[in-house]
């Protein structure tokens, strides 16, 4: 898996690219924690448009990163979720802690 990010004002957009499973999770956790604590964003926006696969290991990874962000008083959102990953988000109740956001909402609410 590849992780890219961009910081705009205090919003950190993180692109998860490829497959998030047990194999890629260890590195992903480390790298994400590093990026978050380096940038101390007020808002984290996970862009999943290029995440081609995620299973329940990914739930753990995302909840863990939510905790990292919260400890720094940050909020977490997600966008561009594919249908099968959406099913996993719903099942795990992930949207309760990291709401899905559209482009429009992003412009109005976050900044």
């Amino acid at each position: 898996m590849e992780i890219l990010y961009s910081l705009e004002k205090s919003t950190l957009t993180i692109f998860l690219i490829g497959e998030l499973d047990e194999f890629s999770a260890v590195n992903a956790k480390q790298k994400l924690d590093q990026i978050i604590s380096d940038n101390k964003p007020q808002t984290i926006l996970f862009d999943l448009s290029r995440l081609s696969f995620m299973d329940s290991t990914g739930i753990g990874v995302l909840i863990g990163r939510y905790k990292t962000a919260k400890a720094l008083n940050g909020k977490v959102y997600v966008k561009n979720i594919s249908r099968s990953i959406d099913k996993i988000f719903l099942m795990a109740g992930l949207y309760d802690i990291m709401p899905k956001i559209s482009y429009k909402e992003q412009k109005n609410e976050i900044h």
Partner: protein
């Protein structure tokens, strides 16, 4: 159970092989012309079972995972089994409960079996302590209205 087409594979229990097993199962299912959603469901369910064998069954130690996939005589139902010869599960019913996990410190969600159940049409887990675990899943790949009959094979 008689299958009109099948394969079985045995692979080292290493997490680097998860993607390979998912792809292999998906490549076999392609003959049924499944929808993208059906293929996604199968990949996810298989990934959960394989992860469990690696993480819980063998706890990261060496071992083999045996995956078998069979196409049933109706030409549209796939049966998948994932088997390990690891530590086994003492209480299967408890293990299958949503959010139950024995590795919370590892950031595991306890959602593996729940995902398998949701993404397939039938799930059967049998396990014996110190012998290993066998997960059987069934999925109907009928949404595209394609089925294979024995004459085509």
């Amino acid at each position: 159970m008689k299958y009109i087409n099948q394969f079985s594979l045995s692979v080292d229990a290493k997490s680097i092989n998860e993607g390979f097993v998912r792809s292999a199962v998906a490549a076999f299912c392609v003959q049924l012309n499944p929808t993208i959603e059906e293929i996604g469901d199968i990949k996810t369910a298989v990934s959960e079972a394989v992860t469990n064998s690696i993480v819980h069954g063998y706890k990261g130690k060496d071992g083999q995972i045996v995956v078998t996939v069979g196409l049933c005589e109706d030409g549209k139902t796939i049966e998948i089994s994932v088997q390990d010869f690891g530590v086994g599960i003492p209480d299967v019913e408890q293990a299958m409960q949503t959010f139950f996990t024995t590795s919370p410190t590892d950031e595991r969600s306890g959602m593996g079996f729940t995902v398998m159940e949701a993404f397939t049409d039938d799930l059967l887990v049998t396990s014996e302590v110190n012998k290993g675990t066998l997960v059987k899943m069934k999925k109907l790949l009928g949404a595209n209205g394609n089925e294979i009959d024995n004459e085509q094979l």
